[in-house]
């Protein structure tokens, strides 16, 4: 073979190899385009039937694997500066160890026994079953928000969930919990609690919320962030406000969370109650509780403070209420917009069902609207939260001083009647402090409202301290 022939063949071979490579790349691109097109057209395949009694999220997960995968991630430990639980499989660290004033504030209440940082949704049932607070008998009401409990309500009410729900406060926690597990519904909050199994539409199921939002709608409290309530109020009001019928899609994206992330009464004397009859502000709720009477006609309280004897209130976790006072609610930004922002998967977008702090998801949660760098967003939030934390500690200092003053007055022989004003102010101060301390955003959901509440808390505690000093002087 001549040299030129050899060279020609070599060139031919190289060109051939190039052709092969290009064809391989083009085919790879083709399959990639095909995959993206499939992603866009195939929303889901309903392989298994799901209905109102399918509480096991794993069954739903067969049909909606992307959402289910994200939901399962709520078992992962996450942590921000002021919230959460990082690391081990053990129970999260104790809140009352970190802030000892919490223990004194809750003296006489089960939260002084055990009060820990929250973990993800996946742990809500086991954490509740394991808490040391069960040393004190707990009510069946607690399961309203810690389990996929609707089938149990329906069974107790012979098909009527509302009637079943109204029986559960009188049942011991263990009894209802056993029933839940025996019926095969021992799951934390799951798909069916927020989604209609036929249409996948988000919906609310929790009786406590449905009653509470009706109370709010029937009141004349301003709700500029909930336009459907205004619309309902302007109608004939023949039928009670029904969020599943009346609310907008945007509102539903907050209502589903408001089924549990709220203030409520949850012990055994009457059914679980969302206190929204006067509105959603801290004072509206305070007035609701103050106007409420037990069956014997005495004024409502959550527990008697072991040290001072005051009949005080315990705030739960009023995220929905505090958010309602903030700029985000006012601007139409729902809970899910930040806590379950849209996440892109190939050519489709789905809601991020790994519900967590937006601080761990800044690009999706915040940057969609706030076109500024992530570090700047983190810094702004840190500023809001550390300011709130400082105010909270100051208000707590005032409360501790007030408790000292009451203690001294009692030692000096002051009577309950002489201390009445001081104890009333303790109830107020403690309610305000707890409203912000137990709320899970360190003030972020409504920074100015939180500052206003803590300012009023410190003021009430200091006034109470003065009243206690006066009582002490009178007694001496």
């Amino acid at each position: 073979m001549t040299r030129s022939a050899l060279r020609n063949r070599l060139i031919l071979l190289v060109v051939f190899m190039l052709t092969v490579t290009v064809t391989v790349l083009v085919t790879a691109l083709l399959t990639n385009i095909q995959q993206r097109k499939a992603e866009e057209s195939l929303q889901y395949v309903r392989l298994l039937e799901v209905d109102e009694n399918t509480t096991d999220p794993e069954v739903w997960g067969v049909n909606w694997p992307a959402q289910y995968d994200l939901y399962k991630r709520t078992a992962k430990p996450t942590r921000t500066r002021f919230g959460g639980h990082g690391g081990s499989e053990a129970l999260p660290e104790s809140k009352i160890e970190k802030d000892p004033w919490l223990k004194r504030m809750f003296a006489g209440y089960a939260f002084s026994i055990d009060y820990r940082e929250r973990r993800g949704h996946a742990y809500m049932l086991v954490d509740q079953e394991q808490t040391e607070r069960h040393q004190v008998p707990q009510s069946g009401s607690c399961l309203h928000c810690h389990a996929s409990v609707m089938p149990v309500y329906r069974a107790l009410g012979d098909g009527d969930a509302m009637a079943g729900f109204e029986k559960t406060h009188a049942m011991p926690y263990e009894e209802l919990n056993d029933m839940l597990h025996d019926m095969g519904h021992g799951h934390p909050v799951s798909c069916v609690d927020c989604h209609d199994p036929d249409t996948m539409q988000i919906r609310v199921t929790r009786p406590g919320f449905i009653q509470g939002i009706r109370r709010l709608a029937a009141s004349d409290a301003p709700v500029p962030h909930l336009p459907s309530i205004d619309e309902w109020r302007e109608g004939d009001r023949e039928e009670a406000y029904d969020p599943n019928r009346d609310a907008t899609r945007g509102e539903m994206r907050s209502f589903v969370c408001g089924q549990c992330h709220v203030e409520y009464y949850c012990a055994s004397k009457f059914p679980l109650t969302f206190p929204w009859g006067n509105g959603l502000t801290v004072e509206d709720i305070e007035n609701f509780w103050n106007d409420l009477e037990f069956e014997d006609g005495s004024r409502f309280y959550d527990f008697v403070h072991k040290e001072s004897g005051a009949e005080v209130l315990k705030a739960q976790h009023p995220e929905f209420e505090l958010w309602s006072q903030g700029i985000h609610a006012r601007s139409g930004v729902s809970c899910a917009d930040c806590h379950m922002p849209y996440i892109r998967q190939g050519a489709t977008k789905i809601s991020d069902h790994w519900v967590r702090s937006p601080l761990l998801n800044v690009n999706r949660a915040c940057q969609v609207c706030h076109h500024i760098p992530e570090e700047e967003i983190q810094a702004r939030v840190a500023n809001i939260q550390s300011t709130n934390h400082e105010l909270l500690q100051k208000a707590a200092d005032a409360l501790m001083d007030q408790l000292d003053a009451i203690d001294q007055a009692r030692k000096a022989g002051a009577t309950d009647a002489e201390l009445a004003e001081a104890l009333e102010l303790q109830r107020k101060a403690q309610w305000y402090i707890d409203f912000i301390a137990s709320e899970n955003s360190m003030g972020f959901h409504a920074p100015q409202e939180a500052a206003r509440i803590l300012g009023n808390a410190a003021n009430a505690a200091r006034r109470g301290q003065v009243e206690a000093l006066k009582a002490e002087m009178k007694a001496e």
Binding site: T19, E231, D337
Partner: protein
């Protein structure tokens, strides 16, 4: 003779390979809606669905009656337009194929300049005293700094709730 036959066999294999390449190429181009990218149809910009929120929000924003995607986002001169199409097309295809871009998506510096030029090309009569001369200075005031919602509505396209005053107007 033998050698010639071998050569022609090679030529056939080679031609077939080339044909396969060309065929897959043409099909892929067609399947990937390649020709739509030469049009100015706004729907083409949302072919890959990444731009769906931008496409949706544009339809609700004030400029949708007077300007489509290319009117604001591409230079108006023929050559510059096709260079920009090619360049943006490259980045978009690379990003979408390898899924390696910043989210939420951000406009590039270069495209901000194009955008500003295009604001001026329609509104220059109105703003020539506000924005004289060059548009590429760093301290130049960008129209969209204030008029952020003309193209795609409020940020995020979240569509806030109806305000009370809006309700008053819409309910009897």
């Amino acid at each position: 003779m033998n050698r010639r036959r071998r050569l022609s066999l090679l030529a056939v294999v080679f031609t077939v390979a080339l044909g396969i390449m060309a065929g897959t190429g043409v099909f892929t181009f067609h399947y990937g809606e390649g020709f739509s990218y030469f049009s100015k149809d706004p729907a083409a910009c949302a072919n890959c669905h990444i731009m769906q929120p931008q496409y949706d929000s544009w339809q609700k924003a004030s400029h949708h009656t007077v300007a489509t995607c290319v009117d604001c986002h591409l230079p108006h001169e023929f050559v510059a337009k096709y260079i920009a199409k090619a360049e943006n097309g490259y980045w978009h295809s690379k990003g979408f194929t390898f899924q390696d871009f910043h989210e939420p998506i951000r406009i590039r510096e270069k495209n901000v300049e194009v955008l500003q030029e295009n604001c001026l090309s329609c509104h220059q009569q109105m703003v020539h005293e506000l924005a004289p001369g060059a548009t590429k200075l760093l301290d130049e005031v960008n129209c969209i700094h204030c008029h952020a919602s003309v193209g795609h509505g409020p940020p995020g396209g979240l569509g806030g709730p109806l305000r009370e005053f809006e309700l008053e107007e819409t309910t009897p």
